[in-house]
Amino acid sequence: MIQIKTSGCDTCPANVHLEQMGLKIENFDRIIALAGNPNTGKSTLFNSLTGLKQHTGNWPGKTVSRAEGGYEFQNIKYKLVDLPGTYSLLSASQDEEVARNFILFGQPDCTIVVTDATALERNLNLALQVMEITDKVVIAVNLMDEARRKGLEVDTRSLARDLGVPAIPISARSGEGIQTLLTTIAEVIEGTIKTEPLRVIGTVQYQNSVNTLSEQINRLHPGIPNPRWLAIRLLDGDARVQQALLSGELAELAGNQRRAEVQFSKQMSVQGRQ
């Protein structure tokens, strides 16, 4: 069992209860996606939250498919989906597609972007791309212990202010900051914390084109999540998104993702190893 280090707000009685639920994810209330660059400790965080023993390893690309688990915090059941680590969401490789399809169509209530405090700049590129897709983002600045050892000081307040989403310093291996992270996630989902993700504005023409297209996409598939992002991808000529739109896969994915996910995860948990 992990040791949760308490500090400051963590000792507040309202915040102290984390129950690891392992694979008991049938009746979850919230669904959380875990994104991030390869080798930033996503799987370690996943394990410490769910109590599962998802195989972690110190090399980029260890998690090639999704793993799912659950935890309960303040009487709310969360399903946590560990996505493959990627540097971006723009290319066509299989792991990036798994990650981006889930953030796009899995409609997670909140996406945690796990970042490496010792290589923040590169990690933020992915965070900015995730923030293009969804508003509900929490940045977990992991490996704070390693950063301190390397003589780096990370000002997460400045980070949060600039990004427009919460940034929580954690160390997944020692459990540092986990309570604060969980509280923040809950508050972002509830709307107590309002996020205003930093987005690239671009030219007026660009804005107009994106608006025109996303309005049309919304008419074709009412209620489809993230039409804005789809519009940007179509403007960019993303062949994969074009194909998904034409084949009806887009509509189907948007409708079925959650159910398919659960079946897939059961199979994964039976195999239990990657």
Binding site: K53, N58, G61, E121, N125, D162, L163, L220
Partner: protein
């Protein structure tokens, strides 16, 4: 522009095409670029060096382990050390387990006979099913329980990407992806896991190469076999002081042969049915991290060792039953096992093996990592009724009773290294490629190589008069 009342996917695409020229060319690059500069700006504001930075140990280690001169030798040394530790550590536990389990077999069989159960009940249960389990546990458990944790420590430290870095130029020469080194390393644990790990390779062509050649590194199911053969045959000819080093060297050599065939086959594939150039990629060398010992023990012992052993046990029990039945159905004075083995013998001899080994291989097809335990069952079941109480008796039985030579042992190691993937791996290849053709090809390539190589070594050894 008029807006149609209903809208189709094609309309949207057309609209996107129409809007695109209005934007500046390369607008997306601009946006990506501004994201990057945004990331840089934000980072500059948030991250400060405290000025306490000491000299960087990681970098110094990396300079050594990824240097063009010392990188490869260090890698080989580490690999040899891992094998040596496994061999030395597994030797006595293996013998003790074997002795204990066969003692139980004897006692239980006598007990069954004493209470008057028919001979075939005793035989089937104790000399068939139970003996199958006993061999598999004795041969496989100790090496796995040592190798898996050691390998997991290397993985957790962050050494694997360094291996990929060192081997990149070789994979590039073979026309394959440098990340194949990672999937190859995962193959040491389990080939099916190695095949799944190839998802990190973006290019479908290079991914297929990695999938088709993954089986050339021996997985953990096959390691114990190699270790046992190396200990019992190769090393036994040397003085006891050196024997563990010789055994480790022999296993290392077999593994290097496997790696050589990985490169050779990758090269052949990329020049023939999977033509193309190696693609460039960036490889991140993660910082070295202190392994978490309790988690390592859990993953390597519970997740991996018990998992692989349980799988082997499930196939070994029926295999033991089949062998006992084949050995005890007598037609015209000789057992079915003997008849089949005799029938297969000419082909086996051609490959430097024998008919019994091929019979064991056929029985063990569902999980061919148990070929050697199966073979031992066939030998001890249908041959002389010797009581095998240790590996030295085993050696005497095989050499004296069944005419084994160094060629037999060497070729069996090669055959076990190169032969077709196990059933699980073939299924995984099928699932990952969604193609029966590639799954079948993975069998053809490996089995073809195994037959060809053992045939060549046997022929050379005979022509040279070594056997």
């Amino acid at each position: 522009m008029t807006t149609p009342i209903t809208i189709t996917a094609n309309d949207i695409l057309a609209q996107a095409e129409a809007l695109r020229p209005q934007l500046q060319s390369g607008f997306r690059d601009e946006i990506v670029k501004s994201m990057y500069s945004e990331a840089e700006r934000i980072t500059r504001r948030a991250v400060h060096a405290t000025g306490e930075k000491k000299w960087d140990l990681d970098q110094r280690i990396d300079r050594l382990v990824t240097s063009p001169i010392t990188g490869l030798p260090i890698m080989l040394l580490i690999l040899a050390a891992v094998f040596w530790v496994t061999i030395v550590g597994a030797n006595y536990p293996s013998q003790i387990i074997a002795t204990a389990l066969f003692w139980i077999e004897d006692q239980a069989a006598s007990l069954f006979t004493a209470i008057g159960l028919p001979w075939w009940v005793t035989g089937f249960i104790w000399h068939g099913v139970y003996r199958g389990l006993a061999w598999v546990i004795a041969v496989m458990l100790p090496p796995m329980a040592i190798f898996f944790p050691v390998f997991t420590i290397l993985e957790d430290l962050g050494y694997l990407p360094r291996v990929a870095f060192n081997l990149d130029w070789l994979f590039k020469k073979a026309g394959a992806h440098g990340k194949q080194a990672l999937t190859m390393a995962m193959g040491f644990g389990c080939n099916a896991a190695g095949v799944i790990a190839t998802r990190v390779i973006d290019s479908p062509r290079e991914r297929l190469i990695a999938i088709l050649t993954n089986n050339f590194v021996p997985c953990n199911g096959r390691f114990p076999t190699l270790i046992m053969l190396a200990t019992v045959f190769v090393a036994a000819s040397f003085s006891p002081i050196f024997s563990s080093f010789v055994a480790a060297g022999a296993v290392l050599l077999v593994v290097l042969i496997g790696v050589f065939f990985t490169f050779l086959m990758s090269w052949i594939l990329s020049k023939t049915i999977l033509k193309g150039e190696a693609s460039a990629f960036t490889l991140e060398l993660p910082p070295y991290r202190r392994p978490n010992i309790s988690r390592i023990l859990y993953t390597s012992l519970i997740d991996r060792t018990i998992f692989v052993l349980w799988r082997a046990i499930k196939t070994a029990a029926p295999a033991g039953a089949v062998i006992w039945i084949l050995g005890n159905i007598i037609v015209n004075g000789s057992s079915l096992a003997a008849i089949t083995a005799n029938f297969l013998n000419p082909f086996g001899v051609l490959l430097g093996l024998d008919g019994t080994i091929l019979l064991a291989y056929i029985i063990a097809i569902p999980a061919n990592e148990i070929v050697v335990p199966t073979m031992l069952m066939v030998y001890s079941g249908v041959g002389m009724m010797t009581d095998i109480t240790g590996f030295s008796e085993l050696r005497n039985l095989l050499i004296g009773g069944h005419g084994w030579t160094m060629l037999t042992a060497a070729n069996l190691m090669l055959f076990s290294l190169l032969h077709n993937p196990c059933g699980t791996t073939i299924m995984t290849i099928y699932k990952e490629t969604k193609s029966k053709k590639w799954a079948a090809l993975s069998v053809v390539i490996t089995l073809g190589t195994a037959f060809l190589v053992t045939f060549i070594t046997a022929t050379i050894a005979r022509l040279a008069g070594w056997v």
